[in-house]
């Protein structure tokens, strides 16, 4: 395993990747706790896993599918029920400026 501590830069990048917003105090506290957790998991280095492969699926199942059949959907009202902001049947967010046109 590599690190047990993160640089401030790495930590800042991680916060962004995780889409979290941390206050100044939170940042230092959680940074320290993250380092602590990384130290704790370092113990796995002691185990030789060269001869095992990853667990492929916890359920042990394969090939679980559904048939191509249409089932009832939410009504528009149900779909929007828990949103704080809606408009004419749409969910709303403040404008996204880099339009990723699909």
């Amino acid at each position: 395993m590599t690190k047990t501590t993160l640089t401030d830069n790495d930590f800042a990048k991680l916060v962004k990747q995780a889409n979290l917003v941390l206050s100044g105090d939170e940042k230092s506290k959680i940074h320290a706790q993250l380092d602590e957790a990384l130290s704790a998991v370092k113990v796995l280095d002691e185990l030789d896993t060269t001869k095992v492969s990853q667990t492929t699926s916890a359920s042990g199942l394969t090939n679980v599918f559904r048939d191509d059949v249409v089932t009832p959907s939410f009504s528009q009202a149900e779909a929007l029920q828990n949103a704080k902001m809606t408009h004419n049947g749409y969910f709303i967010v403040p404008a996204i400026f880099e339009a990723m046109d699909n």
Binding site: Q76, Y90, F91
Partner: protein, 451 residues
């Protein structure tokens, strides 16, 4: 290379290296991971085909659509791919309002299909992979109460999407167009997607770079160390155009000794050019890991065989079969792109082969509505046009004799060598029989009686 717009030759010292990324929306009845209706384009209201799964609600779980997977494998087979023995779905993480779970269920390192190839007259275009993923919701921009907002419609969320990625084997706009048309036609023939660029059931992206051409044209140029991604390409023509404009743009930069910025650009048809969208400083970290909610997929040879039985004849051999029936080359090319037309012709051939050529002509000239008229009724209509025809010589002979008797001067004209006198008599017979005399037989009888 020639600029497809100005028709002027482009810098000969660079070669174009382009790979395509094609997304195809499958037309299954239901979505990829839930039973909501798969019909985002025709939905008359937003957010009416949603459920806990495609809305990404707490506690919802995905279950893969078997038909979609088989359609994906079918596309892979039709593009010459090998099919994986074991495959899985992975979570691809990024945050964007059109992605309800904060991750897209896609495929990372074990796609369903890989290692295929599509021939073009310029050489083969290798298919790196064909994989399955779910579509995102649709975002559009508006103003509400004076504020700029993005409105989100989840009708499209989780619709099955097949992604086709090619190696950078496309070296000219012409090759690009030929390749894209071929892929589209193949997929349409399979019947798994409409591949309609306007409806968004087919979407294109290009990855473009240039490299120096060595003196020996047979030497493959080394791959360059940059890549520009071009999006917002809404037609094959625009795809080709973007190659040309990017070729010029990159050439100018490379001439200066600089390297084009690695970034995503959007094609703008109004200025026939690309515009920078954002700089790709580093590859996005999608934090892929196998989706623990979906057990792995084992694809047996028997299953692949069963799917392969759906492989229809592919377009070029279909064209040959139609031409062999006497159908014109141009008509055949049109018919193979439309499974409804092709089906019609095939059935006409089965019912009565002598009507195949007129069926082909009538379909292509839009003289028959092959959607609402059955082949059986079409043949009946042709037959009734010739039905009620008087073919009995016992009826025709006396009629003709009478006409000849009544028009001695025209008989003399005919005997004097005026061939169009024959037409006069045919017309007279038609009038006398209220149009019911069989033209062929009338002609024959006239000639006999006149000689």
């Amino acid at each position: 290379m020639i600029d497809t717009v100005s028709r002027k030759p482009l810098a000969a010292r660079y070669s174009l290296i382009c790979g395509a990324e094609i997304h195809v929306e499958l037309k299954t009845k239901s979505k990829m991971f839930c039973g909501c209706k798969n019909d985002p384009f025709h939905a008359d209201k937003p957010n009416i085909y949603t459920c806990p799964v495609c809305l990404g609600m707490p506690g919802a779980l995905p279950v893969p659509n078997k038909q979609a997977i088989e359609d994906c494998i079918l596309i892979g087979l039709a593009l010459g791919c090998k099919i994986a023995k074991v495959s899985k779905f992975d979570r691809k993480h990024y945050f964007y309002p059109d992605l309800p779970k904060g991750y897209q269920i896609s495929q990372y390192d074990e796609p369903f299909c890989f290692g295929g190839s599509v021939d073009t007259s310029f050489g083969p275009v290798r298919i790196t992979r064909v994989h399955m993923e779910e579509d995102t919701a649709k975002l559009h921009h508006d103003s509400v109460d004076g504020k700029r907002v993005s409105l989100i419609d989840f009708n499209r969320s989780s619709v099955p999407l097949v992604e086709i990625v090619t190696e950078p084997d496309i070296h000219s706009p012409e090759q690009a167009k030929e390749f894209l048309k071929k892929v589209r036609d193949i997929i349409r023939t399979l019947g798994v997607s409409d591949c309609d660029m306007e409806k968004g059931s087919m979407r294109l992206e290009a990855n473009i770079s240039l490299a120096l051409v060595g003196n020996d044209p047979r030497v493959v140029p080394p791959l360059p160390n940059y890549k520009v991604e071009v999006k917002n390409i809404n037609s094959f023509r625009y795809f080709a155009n973007s190659l040309t404009t990017e070729f010029t743009r990159h050439s100018e930069i490379l001439d200066k000794g600089e390297t084009p910025v690695q970034e995503t650009r959007g094609y703008r048809s109004d200025i026939n050019s690309t515009v920078s969208q954002r700089v790709k400083e580093e590859a996005a970290d999608y934090r892929y890991f196998p989706d623990p909610d979906i057990p792995p997929i084992v694809i047996s040879p028997d299953w692949v065989k069963a799917i392969a039985t759906r492989l229809p004849e592919l377009p070029s051999s279909k064209i040959d079969s139609l031409i062999a029936l006497g159908i014109a080359d141009s008509a055949a090319k049109i018919i193979v792109t439309n499974s409804g037309m092709l089906e019609f012709i095939t059935q006409v051939k089965t019912l009565n082969p002598k009507y195949v050529q007129s069926a082909a002509k009538d379909i292509v000239n839009k003289k028959v509505d092959f959607v609402s008229m059955t082949p059986t009724d079409y043949i009946k209509s042709l037959e009734s046009k010739s039905a009620g025809k008087i073919t009995d010589e016992a009826i025709l002979k006396p009629m003709i004799k009478q006409i000849l008797k009544d028009n001695p001067s025209v008989v003399a004209d005919y005997k004097a060598g005026k061939q169009n006198a024959l037409g006069f008599f045919v017309g007279a017979v038609m009038r006398a029989s209220s149009g019911k005399a069989d033209a062929g037989i009338t002609n024959t009888l006239l000639k006999d009686l006149l000689n």
